[in-house]
Amino acid sequence: MNGDDVLIQARNLVKDYPMGDEVYHALRGVDLTVKRGEFLAIMGPSGSGKSTLLHLLGCLDTPTSGEYLLAGTPVHTLTADALAELRNREIGFIFQMFFLLPRSSALENVELPLIYAKVPPAERHQMALEALQFLKLETHAHHKPNQLSGGQRQQIAIARALVNKPSLIMADEPTGNLDSATSDKIMAQLSELNAMGNTLILVTHEPDVAAYAPRQVRIRDGKIVSDERVKKP
């Protein structure tokens, strides 16, 4: 049953972008295996390829070459619509800029993935409310994003990432727009999610933030340069 434990299996991922007449090699062959329940941080300076890796692992894009299996699904062969369905079912995103719909309430934002998962309204409200309760934000369910603080907005985004019970939660610089106190709170909540068994991939360039992850992968010039497990302090 060893195969069931592996959530992500990436082999020799290459991503090239055409830049005029030349080709920009964003990823030059990345191998990565992530087991279910892991919490890893992908670190690297800007331009290192960590965003490209996040997009590939998050099924927002497909590699130029190489293989990527997510929960056994060969992502590298999928069409745009199949990728959308896979994202909907298996992945929850948390972004630096929160990326909430400004005209929709907190509850409606959390419900968004469930709409595309065709969950009927009553069930959907219930699931979204539960996700908000988990983050202790149920009292703000009917607030619009602009009526909430940055930390609260990011918590709404976390609730949205959780609501469809995905296999993988991807956080892209989740604290990049928050002050340090709020950052700590958010990271503590993400750690809690991981402790509950959620697989978490965190992309950051801040060592403080990365320190929450027991596994740290460093990337530079499109290649993984180190992959180490660190003991929690």
Partner: protein, 426 residues
Amino acid sequence: MTAAALDKKSIYGFWGTLMELFRIALRAIWASKMRSFLTVLGIIIGVLAVVAVVSIMQGVFQSFLGRFEALGGDTLFIEPNYRLYKDYSEAVKRLKLTYSDAQAVAQDVPQVKEICAILNRQDAISFHGHHDTTQVWGTGDSFASMNSFTPEYGRFLAPMDVAARRKVCVLGHEVLDKLALSDDCVGQEIQIGHGTFQIVGVLQKKGGSVFGNQDDAVFIPLSTAILQYGQEAADSLLIQVQIRDPKLMDAAIERISAVLRRQHGLKFGQQDDFRTVTQDEILKQIKEFSSISTLVVGAIVGITLIVGGIGIMNIMLVSVTERTREIGIRMAVGAKRAHILYQFLIESVTLSTLGGVLGLVLGWGVAHLTVAILHHTVAESFPPAYVPVWVMFLSLGFAAFTGAVFGVYPAVKASRLDPIEALRYE
């Protein structure tokens, strides 16, 4: 998950998603009300124009139809066959349809119930320094019963008036106003053309009839009219025939044709120099004219709607650009291309349909307002506007169609966005 729950989900699937997308569309429209309104202004004006113009026109046609339908299926007209000559004035000179023709038809066509010969002229009228013009109808007593004209004061023309060529007249109601006559004018004398006529009756207000505005007309004995207007007028009459039963129409027409050909001494192979016109034919012509003019208006308005549609496409393209981030977010959490495509398509269809509804309501209002104004200024007998159901459905359908056609390109553009690029968009 149980099988039943799965089943429920799949039933929810299509319609549920559609409802969801519709809700999203309404919200987006409502979020920028002013812009939505300006976007569909072209559609609103287009639909307003078609509804207003068509319903006023339909009102006029309906009232015409009503007049001819009131005649009944047992009525036919005989007139000189003006189509025989290219030149109308030549036709009037050469063709003859006389009082003796009418008498021959009355005697020799057994299907005839009633008949009257009619002479029509426009002429000046005056009374104690008040001058005006009106339609003068030279006819006989049967005219009133055949066309259900009822006198309000006095009486209609009598057989004796015609036989004795009396200089008497019956007035339409509007003529009282034109000549500033009082209600008890019966017995007084007015000038019609160069003759002096005694008023013997005033008709009830009736509005439009097959003979135009019957309220603005005077009726005099045919024999007197022939004296007054001369031989040329006497030679080109209109003959109205009522037959005993509508089923006898074909037989009657055949018989009338035979009688008149004999009267006119037409040889075998010569074309009829007269023409019979039935109510059915007139109704058919009105309907034909009605649909042709509606089609013309429709085509003009169709162009307006295309312009309106371009406006919608323009704003939808702007909207897609502005909402690139939103599209990115939706795609990231699992929206497929079709979801995004339909979201924007439904938005433009909803927007243009709402514009169509608004245009319909405003058009209805404008039509009735226009008629009310015409009523009070130009013509009291102007028929009320009539909005046929098909106009409502057609204009709404066309508005929705315009939204769909011009919404496709922006929606396709939105659905083809790359999620990563869309999320990065500032």
